[in-house]
Symmetry: C2
Subunit: 195 residues, 2 copies
DNA sequence: TGTACATCAGTGAACGCGCGTTCACTGATGTAC
DNA sequence: TGTACATCAGTGAACGCGCGTTCACTGATGTAC
């Protein structure tokens, strides 16, 4: 072989990473394969020695998100506490840089229209995220209750991030982020220093 | 003129209504103009005697959503109470029929990538919805606090609806809707009969 | 060690297709005379 | 009242374009002898 061992795998990973960023920023339908491959330093023809179709790449991107979510939460390097996680999720930087952010906030509505395999992957990410939030909640109530609480918290932060991104007015957008943090902390029963 | 007075306006409204439904169901990029016009009982060429471009139709659709939101809330026929509104927003029927549902849950992420005018319209809908929720909250705290609370509630229900739609598993989806209702009611400080 | 061949990730031209958009046209009706 | 013309919402063929996809080809390297 003309390329060193592992070269193909490295390239594939680079394509997936590029796609993950561009999909989040411009939407799946908004990103062309030729453009994507160029951004990854390749020509478009080579795409099909890595993936069987664009949908196949979408699936790979979602699978990658599952893995990353699992790693991030499993290794507990999400900051340790739920409060940190919430504040981090709803910081202005996350709003302003969807390309490096949460796959839900960027692609939830679009992925609903994709293949069953893709949706299944998405469901898996949901499960991982909810379980992880649940595990960060104090164990003062039954697991089922904590899980419901976790779903509420995630809905709140994700909804707030999307709303903050959709809105055209910086003051309103910042206000929405703040409101999201206060609401999520409230649902997590974390008391803030402010009244 | 060969058509009765008001005929053009009626047709235009029919196109906007058809678009509003299809855009919510299949996304803006997922709907072709020829298809849309056929669904409205017309041929695609006639589109441009009503709108200058597809983007112009998107703008009209968002403007229509603003108007509808204003009407619905102003006339207080949203059910009267915030609890009714929350339960109605997160009912299974709303999850299963995006075409007749909330424009945010369907198009928030996609509209962020459209023209400034379109985003401005979207910002206006946000403002109307938040003010309306705020007006349904008990006036026991300052307006600024109630507005924050309103933003939190709306983030929660919208996020929950999107999550419920994205997920491939009915049980999980129902659980998310329930969790959304409980969380939103909690944020509204409405006590439920269940513990 | 040197030569001939096989491998295969990546190249770039070409494809069919559906999209948004344009445009010459139609034909039923209102208006002018 | 009857006739000629203007209007214009809607028609449907055609356009250019970018998309996802295909395919014959390249050329550096590993392998066989």
């Amino acid at each position: 072989m003309r390329y060193e061992k592992g070269h193909k795998e490295t390239t594939r990973r680079r394509i997936v990473e590029t796609a993950a960023a561009r999909f989040r920023k411009d939407g799946i339908e908004g990103v062309g394969l030729a453009d994507l491959m160029a951004e990854a330093g390749l020509t478009h023809g080579g795409f099909y020695s890595h993936f069987s179709s664009k949908e196949d790449l979408v699936r790979a991107t979602v699978a990658d998100a599952v893995e990353r979510a699992r790693d991030r939460f499993a290794s507990k390097n999400i900051g340790g506490s739920l409060e940190t996680w919430i504040r981090n999720y709803l910081r202005a930087g996350h709003r302003d840089h969807p390309e490096r952010g949460c796959i839900f906030a960027s692609l939830a509505s679009e992925l609903g229209r994709h293949s069953k395999t893709t949706k299944a992957g998405f469901t898996e990410v949901t499960d991982v995220v909810l379980s992880s939030i649940e595990s960060l909640l104090p164990a003062t109530e039954p697991s089922a209750e904590r899980r419901k609480r976790a779903a509420g918290i995630f809905s709140t932060v994700m909804g707030a991030l999307q709303l903050a991104r959709a809105v055209n007015d910086t003051a309103l957008s910042d206000e929405i982020l703040e409101a999201g943090i206060a609401s999520a902390l409230n649902l997590a029963r974390i008391k803030t220093t402010a009244s």
